[in-house]
Symmetry: C2
Subunit: 192 residues, 2 copies
Amino acid sequence: MKRICVIGHHAPSSGDFSLNDLAGGAGRMDVLCRCVSSALFLSHGIRRDVEVYLILLGPPRPPVTLRFSGEEIRSLNPDERSTASLIRKALSLPRGDVFRESTPGLAVRRGGLAELLADHPFAVLHENGTDLRKAGSLPENVLLSDHLNFTADEEEIVSGCPAFSVGPLSLHANAAISLLLNEHDRRSAGWT
Amino acid sequence: MKRICVIGHHAPSSGDFSLNDLAGGAGRMDVLCRCVSSALFLSHGIRRDVEVYLILLGPPRPPVTLRFSGEEIRSLNPDERSTASLIRKALSLPRGDVFRESTPGLAVRRGGLAELLADHPFAVLHENGTDLRKAGSLPENVLLSDHLNFTADEEEIVSGCPAFSVGPLSLHANAAISLLLNEHDRRSAGWT
């Protein structure tokens, strides 16, 4: 299982955002939707061995964590709007401390980065990390930030995590995810 | 200059499509918008040395070619909806055989693949091509298809073009673009 987590610093933690303003009023929910798509979609299929976690830190009741399970997801399409629509449904549910499914393969709970790191170890994808292509073994679980840098508090929480870089330029999070998964694909297939 | 061209087999050639249904009634315009974003955006900037061409083959008056110039583009945001909105404006203009600018950095003309290949040589990104990482020199200009395969007619037109592959699995076009540009970035920066 590979796990990919993206922190949405302004993404709303309730479902009352407009699907027509994902990049504005919805706190750059578009960035997160593209990450879900890049992490889970192959050209004609789903990456069943991937889970995506979105940590939403926007108002009104953060933090919230969404979990998309590649193994179980249904009704997911690659476009931003339909992914955001699934997220909106998930955020309209009452939520507790354990994951509760809203639609098949999508679950939601209270809590954020600290809770997720208590469940699983993560590496960080970051410009200053080790080149992924040179890593002896690739990280299974990786954490990225949205269009903003990690906050000082987040930096402290992840300070002990190994860091990897996908290339010499700073890229959008969904591009970094595509690059990570391609490196996994190549190694699995024996493409050196 | 790098040029990236994506063929949209059902993407409409007029501007009267709904921004609320890019993945449906708008003929998978979402796929093309993600390609524009992946080709032109860095984390906090634009790839000024990239041009993106979208060839639209859907009704009512195909083929049409759009050209996004990284050097000159303005008002472009990474989300699908705002990119589609610029496309809609471009498609509402009368068009001729030469590119005409609709908004800064976005131009439109009649014509499709044959006309573009008459202007510039292109390579094809395709599952069966040579591994990009092993290419002695990387292609500057690449052609991809949207969610559909090239048609028989297109296959014939590109049969003489060199073909390159980004990895062992078939991926969405925008992911393939990210992988190509990362390989360029790495070579330019001396990351071997």
